[in-house]
């Protein structure tokens, strides 16, 4: 039976199905990090992507990767820190993140081109709510994102 996660962003809730067959190591890693709770961040370089930062020590394996991300993808990858913080930190030029894509015209980019990202899950319920809530937060301020395992 597929493993599912509950994703909440502000006032809305969605369901993620883990890609345990395509991305077993990434799925295992993500489950080990749960529950996650953090102020959500909106991408400023990739389009319609919302993300949270993971522990800097998190090691993301190369698995089930693509540069052709699509709506509903849940991703694990290293985001260049220049897209995260105002000042490029000399000791850390990339940060592990968990993100999801809620609209088309989105592609995950580095400073020199596309970044291959692990597709660790798919949003299977509540996507339309996220498609309303994320733009609302861009206008009114970013709220909290929670991610937990559905037992």
């Amino acid at each position: 039976m597929a493993q599912k996660l509950k994703l909440t962003l502000g006032n809305v809730e969605a369901t993620i199905e883990l890609r345990t067959e395509d991305a077993p190591e990434s799925s295992k890693l993500l489950k080990s990090l749960l529950p996650l709770q953090q102020r959500a961040r909106h991408s400023m370089e990739n389009g319609r992507e919302v993300y949270i930062l993971l522990d800097p020590k998190t090691e993301v394996p190369d698995e089930n990767q693509t540069i052709y991300q699509t709506v509903g993808d849940v991703l694990l990858y290293y985001k260049p820190s220049v897209f995260v913080e105002p000042d490029w930190t000399g000791y850390a030029n990339q940060m592990p993140v968990l993100s999801w894509v809620y609209e088309r015209d989105t592609a995950i980019m580095g400073t020199y081109g596309p970044i291959a990202t692990n597709v660790v899950g798919t949003i299977i319920g509540g996507l339309e709510k996220l498609q309303t809530e994320a733009p609302r937060m861009r206008r009114e301020g970013m709220g909290t994102m929670n991610l937990s395992l559905i037992e």
Binding site: R39, R41, H42, S43, M44, E45, N46, G47, R48, E49, V82, F83, P86, W88, E103, R104, D105, T106, A107, M109, T111, G113, P114, Q131, T132, P135, R136, M137, R138, R139, E140, G141, M142
Partner: protein
């Protein structure tokens, strides 16, 4: 030889201010058109394709539909640049629910690149954005923030990433 003083802009982002110099020699028609609609006030929104950029949408009688005055190869983006940007409704993709209704399709705006990375990300690699044809997609660098850029202004822009829309007024600085 006399030197003509540069026309300047004053940007007030929720109380944090910066000045900018117009590129009258470089893009005179664009500068004049913009000068003539000032002051412009609105709620600016942070970019999600182009790095550290604040966008101020031009609404109502302030909307501009200008031709491409400057060659695109001269429009490289640097920190501090201010661009006029126009995108026709035919280039709109996906839902633009973060924008007000007028700009969910046609877009006319000032693009203020307040920090690095400026103009990087998806916008730099997005083929649908590259026709640069009048009436479809126009981008013209028309001013730059004066150096040094006030840190308070930059951080106010950065805070929009987390706090949402920020009031912004662009006016003549005389």
């Amino acid at each position: 030889m006399t030197t003509v003083p540069k026309r300047k802009l004053l940007l007030d982002m929720d109380g944090a201010t910066a000045t900018a110099s117009l590129f009258d020699e470089y893009a005179p028609k664009t500068c004049e058109a913009i000068w003539n609609i000032l002051p412009v006030t609105g709620r600016s929104i942070h970019a999600n394709w182009s790095g550290r950029e604040m966008m101020l949408h031009l609404e109502g009688d302030k909307i501009l539909r200008l031709p491409q005055e400057v060659p695109v190869h001269s429009n490289y983006i640097y920190e501090g640049d201010i661009h006029y940007f126009y995108r026709a409704s035919s280039l709109s993709r996906g839902k633009q629910l973060a924008y007000s209704a007028q700009f969910q399709r046609e877009l006319s705006e000032f693009a203020i690149f307040y920090g690095e990375p400026a103009g990087e990300g998806l916008s730099a690699y997005d083929p649908p954005r590259t026709p640069y044809a009048d009436g479809i997609h126009v981008v013209c660098k028309f001013a730059a923030l004066d150096r040094p850029m006030p840190q308070a202004f930059k951080m106010k822009c950065e805070s929009a990433r987390y706090e949402g829309l920020k009031p912004l007024t662009v006016s003549r600085y005389e």
